[in-house]
């Protein structure tokens, strides 16, 4: 690489003067190459975003379902205007699923955040056997989510290891069916999600802490700040942007949660663990009301676009500020 750089300075120094016209030709050549390079991605986006979006809006304005026997482009035969949209506002099952999803996010993400931050701070202060423990702590997030769901399905069985362990501390055998009880099933899926995704919080927050300049932490120590004061007054404020990114990532992913729930409970018992994604899945494959699902999808799209638009703008601002401070 050093070779390339040193050549470049020599070469460009020698050819500055006669190169103006060639420069124009060159930059237009580069521009046309760049346009060609962008083409595959643009085509894929048209194929998977633009075209389906139009299709989804179209279908959402009809009563079409695959049971009709008519192909999708004939959906106009059952044109319904905004009936699907009107219906979704009155759909208690939908709002229940949304509420459960939000509740799930509000419980799981903060727990992941605090465990992750706690672990990151322990690693930051220094522990023995760091590389090994680091890899072990990260392992859950590398497990295929559907497999993680199965693991916790095993653990929470009535005849599974969790009850066996709890039984050791009871006189009688402890025999609870975790996944068949409304509240316990909700706790179980949160435990599984926390297990799998605390490592991600830890990973990102630890990377953030490692970027805090060591001399600033030392300077604070020498000024008499104890561990807690250093952490809350120096380290945390300095990684604000990192915290925002970590939380945003987890909130988005957690809001989409499907695999683990589907494997562990299929949304059950009843609808106790039915997230928005699971509700949409059931509507798609059990009720087959595809036009209704399309309408919900469009609504979710609009709401999330607004929310993420605001958040991305804010995160961008925070990141810029962080860069300026550094």
């Amino acid at each position: 690489m050093t070779d390339v750089v040193s050549n470049s300075t020599q070469a460009s120094a020698g050819t500055v003067a006669p190169a103006m016209a060639a420069q124009d030709k060159l930059s237009s050549a580069r521009l046309s190459m760049a346009k060609k390079m962008l083409l595959p991605t643009q085509l894929l986006l048209v194929f998977i975003v633009a075209f389906p979006l139009i299709m989804q809006v179209y279908i959402s304005l009809t009563w079409w379902t695959p049971l009709d026997g008519t192909p999708w482009y004939m959906a106009y035969l059952s044109w319904s205007w905004f009936d699907n949209y009107r219906e979704l506002f009155l759909d208690d099952a939908l709002w229940g699923a949304i509420w459960r999803t939000v509740l799930f996010v509000l419980i799981a993400v903060p727990i992941q955040f605090f465990f992750g931050l706690f672990l990151a701070s322990l690693f930051y202060e220094g522990i023995a056997g760091k590389p090994v423990l680091y890899s072990l702590i990260l392992m859950p997030m590398m497990i295929v989510p559907a497999v993680a769901g199965y693991i916790f399905f095993l653990i929470f069985q009535q005849t599974g290891p969790l009850n066996a362990i709890i039984s050791l501390f009871y006189e009688d055998a402890f025999s609870v069916n975790w996944l068949n009880d409304v509240n316990r099933a909700f706790i179980a899926v949160i435990v599984a999600d926390v297990w799998q995704w605390t490592p991600l919080m830890f990973l990102i927050l630890f990377a953030g802490l490692m970027s805090v300049p060591e001399d600033q932490m030392r300077a604070a120590t020498i000024l008499g700040a104890n561990w807690r004061q250093r952490f809350f007054r120096i380290a945390l404020p300095r990684i604000k942007a990192v915290i925002v990114i970590a939380l945003a990532l987890r909130i988005i992913e957690c809001f989409k949660i499907f695999d683990m729930l589907f494997v562990m409970t299929r949304g059950g018992p009843g609808v106790a663990t039915e997230s928005l994604s699971l509700y949409l899945y059931k509507q798609t494959f059990q009720s087959l009301e595809w036009s209704y699902v399309a309408a919900i999808g469009i609504t979710v799209l609009i709401v999330l676009s607004v929310i993420t638009g605001v958040l991305i703008a804010k995160a961008g601002k925070a990141a810029r500020k962080q860069v300026e401070e550094a």
């Binding site: 001399d215 020498i222 008499g224 300095r238």
Partner: protein, 374 residues
């Protein structure tokens, strides 16, 4: 205010010894510079005093309190980092107040002292700005102010002036001196710049290869260097140190530079007795470039040398000389005429010349009592 005593203090990083067997005792209220080339262990020494590094062996006392194993949080020292370590996510005011708030002082008291320090450091107009917007010079002041505001008994500065532009460095040097006088703190200052050390410090600790070479006043460091390293390290251009053969002819003792009879320098009583007491035939003879004089004519006190090169630096003229097997350097006022190729007669001020032992590289020292009598 505290005195600082390092006793047999050693710091090892694995196999590497950063500081070896350091004995240093710094008086209460003293301004000490630790001077040496990079990698000599000076920053490690200071880090051990601050508690950033633990000493591997030996002890560190502040007054008569053993601080060897006290954490840096509890040592009560002020420390100015080379890169200043400003809390850039806070305002200037918050930076200054940090140490006081940690101590749990009441808000009015904190405000008062912040205001006072800001005035002293000429940062008042910046108080409510984000500290990341400060210039390097202002950051430097803020770093010093932030440490000074908690009135530590010991103040440590790690190359604090090395990032500043030349003009500001000059001013900051004076302000540091002023600050130290005002607060009366014991201040330790790490630098690789001998001019800074010579100009600022009450005493200088010169280090090389993890070992303390000499700890003395700037005058003594210059005039009575403990060994060849200190002699060469202090002063620019550095001291000429040449091999010399000691010749004795009756009562007259002389040094023959490079062992050549032609370059014979007759020695005075002091140097003669030093040379004879050493019992060695070969010694290292040292003289500073600035103590050289060009004689009008050849005499018993002079020796001849050819001028090989002349440089003019500011108001000084630096001559490079060749004499027999030896080369050396001399500095003169600019008005002294000096031409390359010319042969001149050189006379040395023998009072400022030194002998060094070629094996130990230590300077030969006259035994006090005997010279008084003799």
């Amino acid at each position: 205010m505290s005195s600082i005593t390092l006793t047999n203090t050693t710091k090892k990083f694995g196999e590497f010894t950063a500081v070896r067997d350091m004995n240093l005792s710094i008086k209460n209220g003293e301004f000490v510079a630790i001077l040496g080339p990079s990698g000599c262990g000076k920053t490690t020494t200071m880090n051990m005093i601050a508690g950033i590094e633990d000493a591997s062996q030996g002890t560190i006392h502040f007054d008569d309190r053993d601080m060897t194993h006290t954490s840096m949080q509890k040592r009560g020292v002020g420390f100015v980092f080379q890169n200043y370590a400003i809390f850039t996510h806070m305002s200037v005011r918050k930076n200054l107040a940090f140490g006081l708030e940690i101590q749990g002082l009441a808000k009015p008291e904190v405000d008062r002292r912040v205001k006072e320090m800001a005035e002293f450091m000429a940062l008042s107009h910046r108080l409510d700005q984000q500290s990341s917007s400060l210039s390097v010079n202002e950051m430097q002041k803020l770093a010093i102010g932030r440490s000074a505001i908690v009135e530590p008994s010991i103040f440590l500065l790690d190359e604090p002036l090395s990032n500043l532009d030349a003009a500001f460095r000059e001013r900051m040097r004076l302000e540091l001196r002023e600050l130290q006088r005002k607060l009366g703190q014991t201040m330790i200052y790490v630098t690789h710049d001998q001019i800074e050390a010579m100009g600022l410090a009450d005493r200088i600790a010169v280090m090389n290869h993890a070992v303390l070479q000499q700890f003395d006043t700037p005058e003594n460091i210059y005039a009575k260097p403990a060994n060849v390293f200190v002699a060469r390290f202090i002063g620019a251009p550095s001291m000429n140190i040449l091999r010399a053969h000691i010749a004795r002819d009756g009562r007259k003792v002389s040094a023959q530079l490079g062992g050549l009879e032609a370059d014979t320098i007759p020695l005075d009583n002091r140097l003669a007795s030093l040379a004879l007491q050493s019992g060695k035939q070969e010694l290292l003879f040292g003289f500073r470039p600035e103590t050289m004089r060009l004689a009008d004519r050849k005499s018993a006190k002079t020796f001849a040398a050819e001028v090989s090169l002349v440089e003019t630096v500011g108001r000084r003229r630096i001559g490079h000389f060749q004499s027999g097997l030896s080369t050396f350097v001399g500095t003169f006022a600019r008005r002294i005429p000096l031409k390359a190729g010319e042969v001149v007669n050189i006379e040395l001020d023998l009072d400022t010349c030194h002998f060094f032992d070629p094996d130990t590289e230590l300077r030969l020292i006259e035994p006090e009592v005997e010279t008084e009598n003799g």
